[in-house]
Symmetry: D2
Subunit: 133 residues, 4 copies
Amino acid sequence: MNSYQRTIHLADTDAAGVVYFANIFVLCHEAYEEALARSGMNLKVLVSPSGIALPIVHSSADFLRPLFCGDRLEVQLTPKQLGETEFEITYQVLSLTTPQITLARVITRHVCINAANRQRSPLPEEILRWVSG
Amino acid sequence: MNSYQRTIHLADTDAAGVVYFANIFVLCHEAYEEALARSGMNLKVLVSPSGIALPIVHSSADFLRPLFCGDRLEVQLTPKQLGETEFEITYQVLSLTTPQITLARVITRHVCINAANRQRSPLPEEILRWVSG
Amino acid sequence: MNSYQRTIHLADTDAAGVVYFANIFVLCHEAYEEALARSGMNLKVLVSPSGIALPIVHSSADFLRPLFCGDRLEVQLTPKQLGETEFEITYQVLSLTTPQITLARVITRHVCINAANRQRSPLPEEILRWVSG
Amino acid sequence: MNSYQRTIHLADTDAAGVVYFANIFVLCHEAYEEALARSGMNLKVLVSPSGIALPIVHSSADFLRPLFCGDRLEVQLTPKQLGETEFEITYQVLSLTTPQITLARVITRHVCINAANRQRSPLPEEILRWVSG
């Protein structure tokens, strides 16, 4: 359920001929959004101005191989709860053209906050369910 | 064959709460790339440094309704040859949540050039085949 | 006052070696934001959820020459009121390396709406002042 | 010399109302490009298909505070050589509106490769000079 397939588009690349490094983070965030949507969550949870927000407080990536326009890949993600207000996702970016090849490994760490005052807030039930999925 | 379905991701939006206008052009270009790929073309045709290139020389868009994070939509595209070295694509961006609703209409006009000297060059056979569909 | 200078960054380009077409629209929108800021306006006007919004309803571009990573350019913009609720901006994208060379011509048409109900609303005083410059 | 000032534009933000996390990496890469350019380097060094390339193999970020549309900020960067073929840059993203406030801390690690065969290659003289600046 927590996997996402995607083709690399021209907009993902740069004039060095491969995917621009920051776009790997975008790709992984897309995989996270698709996983939330498939678990039944409304993506408005990410942008609701009145309720909670789930900003990323830390992220890292190891870029192991270049990705090219037209490449087909799969992102596999694994969420893990880190506390009452925090969770982390690890992503494996794999080639679909040459399976078993890991192209990148990415981590994002998210905290739950009250969007109005930006104070930490417990993770909502539906996120907890997905994280412990 | 020339339709493409897509979910709006957080990265497509801006702080006004809807999709940032320039990202509608990105979305339509993705639909064009997917259509080329499905017609059997290698997307390397778009980036080959030694061969031809197909730069966009004109583009326009009418933005009829706002698009929100999580929205599901379909892009329907219709290519048309304009001459020996030129073609145009029109795109209808439709809501999948509320079918029959057109969200945007976009046009891109492409010329075929020799990538080395940037002079006009006849459209290659495989592009002509796709354009005359 | 309504001109904006900018270097082309790697993120603006794609694997075809030049600026990705949709990023010319981004570049022009930056020029518009800088012009508003320099006229004394708070850019929060663009994103305020309670007040008005100024969405783009139409945009077009003619891409005359390719732009490369590292190129220095200038965007000159000219706003024009179209009615009580609408204005249009035309942009000339010029090379700073080779002045007198126009690289692209872009248009954006903006309407003023009430952000809550998305109905048309008269242009606010500060926008009118900038538009009639 | 290794500092870069920038306004946050609408395109940098997302519908959660703040800068989209991956765009902080873009911002830091812009600062790196400007620093190279100011040290006299031609940015073509980043994209030359015949020569060397400097891909990023690792990157991380701590996002300490949200950034909003219209915010003015400064990126201070510090390069450090890690070996014959590798260097690392650390970036402090600071608020210009409220100095002394660090908004984010970012790291990028770059290796020098032969762009044709993607094998490691010694850092070129001009990069070494900038790194040991």
